[in-house]
């Protein structure tokens, strides 16, 4: 390698010796402090390896002299968070459900907490916005199988429906066809009668009087006279516009023949009482609460 560096005649400075298409580059050396800073960053990096977790080993990694771990850091921060929130969650636990809804600060806390917990625990069935799905009630509307007051919602969350918990909501839609209680044409007739209760169209030539009689004999015990439903038994109101499984004739026939018994798990024991309270307020505040 030959030294091509020379003194540039215009600036009086040395060139690097590089030349591209006749253009020569002036040598502009770095300031010494800059170079020292650069070496210091290298020294810093080595120090970092020693005091912090750095190098991967076969099944673990070097832990470093400080014993730092980001997992422990997160755990600590979460514990701190719980401590900070402790007072507020205690206030939530102490207040009555009605008082929580009246206090803007408690309501905001309950809604925030409830929304998070709902997303973690309830969304798989009820959907992230609580809009429900076939067989899983929409919690935004004002139709409630087991009641829509704050206390009723709380009870349903605590003990569930048909959950096996000692205090759970019991009662189910019987399988009138499968169990041989009603025959095929009777099921079709009563299905059309149920449709007529909420003003839906009925099959041509269907016998309304017969339908009414079948309903009174078999269904009114739970769904009440006129099909208004019974929240004690979780029997749906058949006169409104909201249908958990569907209002078309085929679905109704399926419901009457096979029965329905959706399950909602009990959350008591799985979530702490103030969290369940927050969730009840959250669900109530979605808009359908009574």
């Amino acid at each position: 390698m030959t030294d091509h560096s020379e003194i540039d005649s215009v600036t009086g400075r040395a060139t690097t010796g590089h030349e591209w298409d006749g253009i020569k580059e002036l040598n502009t050396p770095l300031p010494r402090w800059w170079v020292i800073c650069f070496y210091l960053t290298i020294v810093w990096a080595i120090g970092y390896w020693i005091v912090y977790p750095a190098w991967p080993l076969i099944s673990s990694n070097t832990t470093g002299l400080f014993g730092y771990s980001s997992r422990a850091d997160v755990a600590l921060e979460l514990a701190n968070l719980d401590k900070i929130r402790g007072d507020k969650m205690a206030a939530l636990g102490a207040a009555s459900l009605a008082d929580i809804e009246k206090d803007p600060a408690l309501l905001a806390l309950a809604r925030a907490k409830g929304k998070t917990v709902f997303g973690d625990n309830c969304a798989p069935c009820h959907g992230s916005g609580a809009a429900g799905a076939k067989g899983f009630p929409n919690l935004n509307d004002d139709d409630w199988l087991w009641g829509g007051t704050l206390d009723q919602i709380l009870q349903t969350i605590q003990f569930g429906a048909r959950s096996g918990h000692a205090k759970t909501h019991e009662g189910q839609m019987l399988a009138f066809g499968k169990d041989g209680v009603l025959k095929g044409d009777e099921i079709v007739t009563v299905a059309n009668y149920v449709r007529s209760l909420s003003g839906l169209s009925t099959r041509k030539g269907y016998d309304a009087a017969k339908g009414e009689k079948i309903f009174a004999d078999n269904c009114a015990a739970c769904h009440a006279d006129g099909g208004k439903g019974n929240q004690e038994l979780g029997a749906a109101n058949l006169t409104d516009k909201i249908w958990l499984y569907g209002s078309d004739e085929a679905t109704l026939i399926e419901t009457i023949s096979q029965g329905r018994a959706g399950v909602m798990p009990a959350w008591e024991g799985r979530l702490d009482p103030s969290t369940i309270k927050a969730m009840a307020v959250y669900v109530h505040s979605l808009g359908g609460g009574k």
Binding site: W33, G127, D141, K241, G288
Partner: protein, 488 residues
Amino acid sequence: MNKTVNTNELTSDDDNGPLYVAQKKVYPQSISGTFRRIKWGLMAFCLGVYYFLPFVRWNRGLGAPSQAVLIDLPNSRFYFFFIELWPQEIYYFTGLLIVAAVALFLMNSVGGRIWCGYLCPQTVWTDLFYAVERFVEGDRRERMRKDKSGGALTLKRVSEIALKHSIWLMIAWWTGGAWVLYFNDAPTLVKELLTFQAPMIAYIWIGILTATTYVLAGFMREQVCTYMCPWPRIQAALTDEWALNVTYRYDRGEKRTSVKKAAELRALGEHVGDCVDCYQCVAVCPTGIDIRNGSQLECIQCGLCIDACDNVMTKIGRPKRLIGYDNDINIQRRQEGKAPIYRIVRARTVAYSAIIAAVGGIMLYTLATRSLLDVNVLHDRNPVAVKLSDGSIRNAYTVRLLNKSGYDRVVAIDADGPVNLTTHVVGADSVTPDRPMIVIPRDSTSELRLLVTAPADSNPEKSIPVRFHVTDIGLGEVATTTDNFVAP
């Protein structure tokens, strides 16, 4: 070039020149003159504003901070005299930054690096630190002598060095101390700082700013401008042929001779330059360059070489401003025997001024018409609409109400649309059944869940526009926003 190369040559630093250079310490000489006076004045003004502004009081009424300029981070408010800004109004700062940037461009196109030479904190504090250095250790020659015989650490020399660094650290400490006063009530914080009761973060920030001031103004000095700051590079791209820069008028200065020789040659009627190679311009330069080499990246255009040269020109009886604010066009015109022309008003200065006026005007307008009651509405996305048991349709919205005034408000929320809509706020007591009333405390926001219902027989279209009115019941002030009402 069949030169045999030995291995020594390959590893030698001389091969391609040195890889790094030591910082050449600059010993600026004291100087007096017009530009030095301007610089002292601006230094006093800038430092005065910086150190004392936090103590200026401004009455905003009970419950509001009484500090004229305050950045209240915990409550996310910014106070500037009669202005109070919320985080949502961060665009005012964007506007301020635009104005500041274009003001820099304007300065540059009028008078070069005015910012660098007179106003930049790096320049102001370095200038102050140099003044301390000069006060303690003496002027240029003395400091150079003392540094050269650095081995002779007499008691006097050691105490001098100690004194200089103590004063520097004190100034640096006050720099950091004043900084934190902008973030808290100044008199209270000063009391807390003096009794060591201030929050840890205040001491940490004072420490950080003490360190940066001490290092940047005491040691890094011109290195910051030359190597760290992007502005010298940007300004090189912004300047044009009409911009006035600190310029050595070589048409007048060349050819350089001694005072004596010049007089002799002039007597013979020959052309002689005014520059007598006294190196006073170099001696006073805080970045250690020779302005006679023309415009340079390192030159911060502080104008001290103008003062230095003027003093010499006065002494030798030649006209002043051999170095002055000028440009190459005028140098050429004088060489051609024409009168110099100065063009401050030209397309780019007019454009920059217009941008500053426009952005500033828009900011002032929005500030003057700034509403103290505001509403934001966010439509629920899941579910967008809910059918109720009687067939009516309900949409839910998250409503954020902003009360920027200094008093509590009672507001009513109404929703108007092509169909009859009723509103209900979750958790709010309704004074009238269909008109929710909400209290928003002073200087705060409230987030509410608003339910809007259309009756079953209204059969709204898939999506209809809704106008939300938030009315202050007491004052009649109204804030309005729009969104859509959606049918399932």
